[in-house]
Amino acid sequence: MCPRLGSRRVLDPRGVGVVSPRMAEAKNLSDPDWAILFVCWLLASAATLGSLFFSEVMELPPCSLCWIQRVFMFPLTIILLVGLFPFDPRVVRYALPLAAIGGAFALYHLLLQAGLVPESAAPCRQGVPCTEAHIQIFGFVSIPMLSLLVFASVTGLLSLLKRRQLQ
């Protein structure tokens, strides 16, 4: 699987021979694969800054489940950025597990807050309770909901990119 992933790129004569670097650049920007990765990076970066806003500016202490989701979200901003320059679709291999696992934690957190998972199953009874909803944007959007939205979108987009690369 690995050698095939990104094989299109390898064959792509970026700045080599017939295609001048300028032309390659112009082509690259309209490359939907690059755009998909760029959107993923944008989503992860916005989520990272958003979570830092909650903790550092609004001084809301992150609960343990929030911390676990941060562990999976923050590195995405770096890994995806590295994958953008030069464009390396193999970054999906490294980023997809992070996004998927982070999304699983976000889903669990959401179910916990909704009361669909019994609280006794919560790993954090001391310190900041994970069940306490700090923020309700528009009355119903909570922090784990935003987290899940970003993780799910990134997971979906990266899967799409993977599929396109395999074709």
Partner: protein, 218 residues
């Protein structure tokens, strides 16, 4: 447009939004506490609140503190120096924010010591011996009783008095007011109702100096 340009512009845009949101949020919070402080039923000071300095001082420095907080201890000499510098013009009001485990007992001891008119002496001993009873690796608030006699108080009376339910009510009220004012860390300072937004000794000093200059024009 080049890819690099797109990413750079996006990053700059994200940072701009972050900075703008931070500015808007903090200024809104500051306005909110100022309005709260101006209200008749101000959460900044209660009749039970301990203070020092002239009652008619036009500048009031409110400090939310925790006897077990290291930074409160480190700030104490600076606060004293600031009060000495602006003698007759600044009044200090201490509010409790016992966030550490066992700190509520310390507050009760302070209040019981105040009945013997030894509040400040007891607080001083608490800060002096803090590393012994409030170590982060091994907090042992019960050890403070060993050091309490240094404050020159009747320890047995304090043991009895500290149980008074009114002290628990004081702690409750201070914690509630702290939440209302958005106090999540200690020490948190308010100068005439305005929160100290950027934490630090220099920032506190300049905020106090500016307010004193405003209230007492030369």
């Amino acid at each position: 447009m080049k890819r690099q340009t797109v990413v750079l512009i996006s990053a700059a845009g994200l940072m701009l939004v972050f900075g703008l949101a931070t500015y808007l949020y903090t200024s809104e919070q500051a306005d909110r506490t100022e309005a709260l402080a101006a209200a008749a039923d101000s959460p900044l000071e209660r009749p039970h609140s301990r203070g020092r300095g002239p009652a008619d001082a036009r500048v009031v420095l409110v400090e939310f503190f925790d006897p077990a907080c290291e930074t409160c201890r480190a700030f104490d000499p600076y606060v004293k120096a600031l009060l000495a510098e602006h003698r007759d013009r600044v009044r200090l009001v201490l509010r409790y924010a016992p966030f550490h485990e066992g700190s509520d007992t310390m507050v009760k001891i302070l209040e019981a010591a105040a009945l013997q008119d030894h509040f400040w002496e007891t607080l001083q001993v608490m800060y002096d011996t803090q590393p012994q009873w409030a170590s982060h690796h091994n907090p042992r608030p019960e050890r403070f009783w060993e050091f309490l006699p240094r404050a020159g108080v009747d320890v047995d009376r304090i043991r009895r008095d500290a149980q008074a339910p009114k002290f628990a009510a004081i702690i409750e009220q201070d914690l509630l007011d702290g939440r209302t004012l958005g106090v999540r860390k200690t020490p948190q300072f308010f100068v005439n109702g305005k929160p100290l937004l950027r934490f630090g000794y220099e920032q506190l000093k300049s905020m106090l100096d500016v307010e004193v200059a405003k209230q007492y024009p030369q």
